[in-house]
């Protein structure tokens, strides 16, 4: 308990560090080359366009209750993008900051928060884009949109422990980055992003969706933006996801703490 309080105090003290590194990360992504900033937004926009064409125009797919496919897809794809981007970059976090970790006293446990902050800015920009798409398709702004921060924070909570675990292990075995890419690819398709959970998935596989914390967040985004669902509608699942996030944070945190002292030797 005491160490948990120390940890939170340390996080508060490290807020400048987090801010400085996140700002640096965002700047390096949006500046440098002339088109780099545009690419950061063009890439997801293009993905949206391709999926829209394939599923909406070619397959004539529809969301539940007749929702246009593009709305169903964009509300699921953006939180997924945040998740996969944070996890991919976060896994490389310690290695990418080896110039700080190796020869300086540096609180490397702050790195997951750096990547979450940096990716959140990207996420915010894309959400604005999504908001425009929604409004153009006649979706009205409701009070339920204010639930988005809750689901966003839930997703962050899940990511923190995972990032600690993966970024620490990645120092010792750099292949992990490749593995994360493969796992994320599979994860994308077993999460209801392009397909609809209800009616499509046979009952014996429904558990796959229930244990998937990202599915919980994605459904939460959709419920808030499209279907006017209050966030407490899936009470048990909320409890499960938050317990999972806490367990991941404890596991990832203790692994990170144990391996941290070896970073300097291995990097």
């Amino acid at each position: 308990m005491n160490s948990a309080i120390n940890f939170l105090v340390g996080l508060y003290r490290g807020r400048r560090t987090i801010r400085a590194l996140a700002r640096r990360d965002v700047l390096s992504r949006y500046s440098g080359t002339v088109f780099r900033g545009a690419w950061e937004l063009a890439n997801p926009a293009l993905t949206l366009l391709v999926f829209w064409f394939v599923f909406s125009v070619a397959f004539k797919a529809k969301g539940p209750a007749g929702t246009p496919f593009i709305l169903y897809f964009v509300t699921g794809y953006l939180p997924w993008l945040f998740f996969s981007e944070s996890l991919t970059r976060g896994t490389q976090g310690v290695v990418a900051h080896s110039f700080l970790v190796k020869k300086m006293v540096f609180a490397s446990e702050l790195l997951p928060f750096v990547y979450l902050t940096a990716s959140a800015i990207n996420h915010g920009l894309l959400l604005l884009l999504a908001g425009i798409i929604l409004l153009f398709n006649g979706v009205a702004i409701t009070w339920y949109w204010l639930q988005l921060p809750y689901f966003f924070i839930t997703l962050c909570a899940v990511l923190i422990g995972l990032q600690w675990l993966l970024s620490a292990l990645n120092v010792f075995n750099r292949d992990l980055g490749q593995g994360v890419g493969i796992v994320l690819n599979v994860w994308f398709w077993i999460t209801p992003i392009v397909w609809v959970a209800d009616g499509v998935v046979p009952p014996e596989y429904q558990w796959l969706i229930h244990v998937n914390p990202v599915a919980y967040v994605i459904e939460g985004y959709r419920g808030s933006l499209l279907y006017e669902q209050p966030f407490w509608i899936n009470g048990w699942q909320s409890l499960y996801v938050w317990s999972l996030a806490l367990a991941m944070a404890l596991l990832g945190g203790s692994v990170f703490r144990r391996l941290k002292q070896h970073f300097g030797d291995v990097l």
Binding site: G14, A20, K103
Partner: protein
């Protein structure tokens, strides 16, 4: 988790660094696969071999102290500094640091090569916990101190190592550290910048900042540090005054075990160029030489000389041994104070305990702080001395005139030989063995009296 267990423990009093019984062992793996295999092996099979970089090192450093670390390559200097900086943790023992450490561990440390100097300085400042205004104020000071012009706004990967050192040093000293660790890095700066750095280090020391300094330049160590630690093969061999440790370090560098002797080049036969007065009939018939030659007791009489300095340091493998020295100035034998412009003769009596085919005899003059003022030896003078045989002794004479600025100087005497690889093997080396006082020179300061002349050529009236 956030607090670094190594660097944040409180230490009593004005001790800023306390290193107690610290050992550091590295696990060396034949390959990366083996590291992985060991981590995953179900029966905990060991794939690594252990390398002990530091063994049972203990010392304390107080506020405002500047301490040098000397040692050959691979002696564990960098490991020790990394431990103190808190970058790595000790295998055994504990390192406690009371205060903020600014570490200049190596070129490239702490800076992202893709960022400009300015961006890196800002990033480092912010990570260090300074507010935005503070960081901006600091950046201006650092830019001015580093003085690298437009390169401050270029990515650091295009920097020369000198520019890099400038930015790194400027950054380190401006973060208000309690301890500053400097590893070699200043050596790449030019002379002017080095001087600036040393002035700055002096200033920091006067503000009670402790300085830990690693350099292979003994003169720099002597100029910067009061105390020194000598590391050899991971152990702290000697902790003491800078002069003492520098002497021991030289002993470590040049003193070789006697087994290496005798592998040298073939002894040169007597021939042209061989000195006449080596051990046979003396070329001069000075009474001193006669006395030295007639005293065949082969007793070490060095300590009976008036100028003898009991805090001298002796190294060497012992195949030859300096038995006696006599400083002669004019009529005065065994002089201690040297008159200005006097001619000086120094006699050295050397006993050979083993055959030394190619002996080399030398002397050096150092200032009280170890600065090398002058040195010479028979090899530098291209003189082949006669081979020394076991049991023989020889008397040598150096002659020079006093061109030194007045003050205290130390004499070093040495007998060495040349090893198979052309390296110098010290047989007997007496450092600071004679303490001579050179008469005050009113007209000059420094070390060497160049006898300047000065005249006024003209005085032009101001043009109106």
């Amino acid at each position: 988790m956030l607090e670094n267990s190594v660097s944040k423990q409180q230490v009593a009093g004005d001790v800023v660094i306390s290193v107690s019984n610290v050992s550091k062992t590295y696990k060396l793996y034949p390959s990366h696969q083996d590291r992985l295999k060991e981590a995953l092996h179900p029966f905990r099979k060991r794939y690594h071999t252990e390398f002990s970089a530091l063994h049972d090192v203990s010392f304390e450093i107080r506020k405002g102290e500047s301490v040098g670390i000397l040692g050959r390559n691979g002696a564990g200097k960098s490991t020790l500094l990394q431990l103190i900086a808190g970058v790595i943790s000790p295998t055994r023992g504990s390192v406690s640091v009371n205060g903020k450490v600014a570490a200049l561990l190596e070129l490239g440390a702490g800076f992202n090569p893709d960022l400009t100097g300015r961006e890196n300085v800002i990033l480092a400042g912010t990570i260090g916990g300074a507010s935005d205004e503070e960081v901006m104020k600091r950046v201006r000071v650092i830019e001015e101190f580093a003085d690298i012009g437009i390169f401050f706004d270029q990515p650091m990967k295009v920097y020369s190592s000198g520019m890099y050192a400038r930015v790194a040093f400027a950054n380190a000293i401006h973060v208000d550290p309690d301890v500053i660790i400097v590893d070699e890095i200043l050596g790449v700066g030019d002379a002017k910048f080095q001087e600036k750095c040393h002035r700055k280090l002096d200033e920091l020391r006067s503000r009670n900042v402790a300085i830990l300094f690693v350099s292979h330049s003994v003169n720099t160590i002597l100029a910067v540090c009061e105390r020194c630690i000598l590391l050899d093969k991971g152990e702290a061999n000697l902790i003491g005054s800078a002069v003492e440790v520098v002497n021991a370090y030289h002993g470590l560098l040049y003193g070789r075990p006697s087994a290496e002797l005798g592998k040298g080049r073939r002894p040169s036969a007597d021939g042209p160029g061989t000195l006449g007065f080596a051990s046979g009939p003396a070329a001069t018939t000075s009474p001193i030489v006669e006395w030295l030659l007639n005293d065949t007791t082969l007793v070490d009489r060095i300590s009976t000389r008036i100028s003898y300095n009991k805090d001298h340091f002796r190294t060497g493998s012992g195949q030859a041994r300096i038995l006696d020295y006599i400083v002669v100035v004019g009529e005065e034998t065994d002089a201690r104070v040297i008159r200005r412009d006097a001619d000086i003769e120094i006699y050295l009596k050397v006993k050979f305990t083993e055959d030394v085919p190619e002996p080399v005899v030398g002397l050096a003059i150092t200032k009280i702080d170890g600065i090398h003022v002058y040195g010479t030896n028979s090899r530098l003078m291209s003189l082949d001395l006669m081979p020394g045989r076991a049991g023989q002794f020889a008397v040598y004479r150096f002659k020079f005139s006093n061109e030194l600025v007045g003050g205290d100087y130390f004499m070093n005497f040495g007998v060495s030989t040349v090893g198979g690889n052309g390296e110098t093997i010290l047989l007997d080396n007496l450092r600071s063995v004679a303490h001579l006082v050179f008469e005050h020179t009113r007209e000059a300061t420094g070390m060497i009296n160049l006898h300047s002349a000065l005249e006024q050529v003209t005085l032009v009236p101001t043009m109106r």
